[in-house]
Symmetry: C2
Subunit: 369 residues, 2 copies
């Protein structure tokens, strides 16, 4: 039940978010995509058209990007190009990618570092994006491992799942940090008052879990975030929790599996439908309902996965993102910047006594595999 | 493309399986179910009616079971009752359950141990079933941890995923044993010639994984099973592999998540459809196609999860199984017994030098949590 008051609150939040987006400048790594730079530039163009005031700086080989923009007629005073002559391949090792200091991802990260942009978006090589931002921006004080967070779709209550692939072998304190980062993201970007945080495990009971879960639980229980216990695999789609914490190995497998299951089901139904004419007519009649459903679970609506724990705002978009997903990723990067997510993370870390020293400079972590 | 030869082979295999099922006696723990003993007895009755020659011994309080059978008119010369006055609750700790030596699950396991039955089926407390069989039957030579295997549905190529919850903190050698057990199950029960075995990880490349995956990979590569490398989360529904190995923590989360996603999607579509009359008419026309699809992914068709690695054939059925699922679980237990899965596991362990001593007696492992 949505009360009048809740609706009003929602409207106020939407307006504030819109204002924040309109005042932002986002750097877009315009070279990393399975579909080539064109869809990225289209996403950027859609974003600046939809949000007056928003500025997008696309990084990549200047002549190539400008020729696409000219050819497609995507002219907009807020859509700029910054030259980045080098390109990082999708399968290049992160350590290799770091040598290319003038790559599209490095130039985008530098724009953020220098304050010329509030955040960045990349749909390219995830390892390279992580390595670049980590090396250039470092981690937030007290945080030793950044985490990639996926937003699991739900009609009323999207769930932040982290980590989904940045860290495969985690220590309990990493899960503690993920819990804090997820809590802040859910609270300040999704506007949940007091987000429910859970640990992904094999049963709801306290006695269910592996060694990592037991140890992490003890640490998280000592903080003042709203930790509610274990979440099971089935809870991830039920809208019971706002934040679910796990190590990157489990999170990555769950995320990829979930995407594939959705695809598998829709394709199986399609195959069955094609076997009979009556079913086909039925499917046509059901189309609007199916489309509505698809919109609910479409990752493109959420625009990408925030990289949390680094000193900057970075959204990692799916390599196969289409223009709409890129537009949304740019919006989410601007919202993340406007919500001061990183400041709030540091504050919550400090309040819980998790900063090692008052002047913690963050860790320049080893480059990830 | 299915050739004439393949069709013939399939037919021969089906006939052989049917013969095996008809010669079996299966013990059914008739008390463990979310829906009460009635659905279990109905499943048993369906099984003996469908497979002439198959015998099912239902364990539980004699008077209660017999009164249900009498009341429902389920009389069959091959459907017997064995008295087991005690009952294990769904939330009872496994260690507690072991004290009840005359519980329905203990009596069923004893029937197998004494050779009065070839296998057993339980839809009750999984921990209690594992603890009972482990203590009474012990593990197979060389195997230190039994594994619960789930059968992931696929129209052409069902995938054996193990472990899905018996072992949360695994050592590399446990994953090696799971690989061997899964290989044997796929080969001798599903009739795959040379099953493709993979390790569940975060990427297909050899460099992707956590410490456990790297170490297990090294061990599995030394065996002569058909190990093909890493499987990603998305591969689980794509019919690329016959066996996928993981620790029970990951497997359990993936399995529960997958079940919930399927439910979530079908319910979301239903909700959307109900919003318009045209969609509703469309859904009616699509019904046969949707039903076909549901049959493909319905766990009830696969009947339950084989418990591998113990000296006996045990199928763990879903607590919420309906009669059809129980009937299929009984069939699968009989097929597993007829295929001599356990003998083949021991043989493969021996061929790969994995039996500690020629007369390895198996481990009476500590009772699981």
């Amino acid at each position: 039940m949505v009360s009048e008051f809740q609706r009003l609150r929602h409207l106020v939040r939407q307006r504030r978010k819109l204002r924040q987006v309109s005042q932002s400048t986002i750097a877009l790594d315009a070279m990393g995509s399975d579909h080539g730079p064109e869809v990225l530039l289209e996403g950027a163009y859609l974003a600046v058209c939809q949000y007056p005031g928003l500025k997008v700086i696309c990084t990549g080989p200047r002549s190539r990007l400008e020729s696409i923009l000219r050819h497609r007629g995507w002219h907009h005073p807020q859509l700029l190009v910054e030259d980045a002559p080098e390109v990082v391949g999708m399968h290049e090792a992160p350590s290799e990618s770091l040598r290319k200091t003038r790559s599209s991802v490095a130039v985008a990260a530098r724009l953020v570092q220098e304050g010329a942009a509030n955040g960045m978006v990349s749909a390219g090589n995830t390892g390279a994006t992580m390595a670049t931002t980590l090396l250039m921006w470092r981690t937030l004080p007290g945080i030793s491992r950044p985490a990639i967070s996926a937003i699991l779709p739900h009609p009323e209550r999207p769930c932040v799942l982290l980590d989904v692939g940045a860290n495969v072998d985690c220590k309990p304190r990493h899960l503690l940090h993920f819990a804090i980062m997820g809590y802040v993201y859910s609270r300040y970007v999704f506007g949940r008052r007091h987000p429910k945080v859970a640990l992904l495990s094999i049963g709801e009971e306290e006695t269910k879990g592996n060694e990592l879960v037991f140890a992490a639980r003890e640490l998280i229980e000592q903080t003042d975030i709203n930790f509610v216990g274990n979440a099971e695999g089935r809870d991830l789609v039920k809208g019971k929790f706002d934040v679910v914490v796990c190590d990157g190995f489990v999170g990555n497998i769950v995320l990829k599996f979930g995407e594939a299951v959705v695809e598998f089901i829709l394709e199986s139904i399609k195959r069955e439908v094609q076997k009979s004419l009556v079913s086909q007519l039925g499917a046509v009649a059901m189309m609007p309902a199916l489309r509505n459903f698809k919109r609910q679970v479409d990752y493109a609506e959420f625009g990408g996965a925030p990289l949390l724990g680094v000193r900057g705002n970075c959204i990692i978009a799916h390599g196969s993102s289409h223009a709409k997903a890129i537009k949304n990723a740019i919006r989410v990067a601007a919202e993340m910047a406007g919500a001061h997510v990183n400041d709030h993370i540091v504050e919550l870390m400090r309040d819980n006594g998790l900063l090692k020293t008052p002047n913690d400079r963050g860790v320049k972590a080893a480059v990830l595999k």
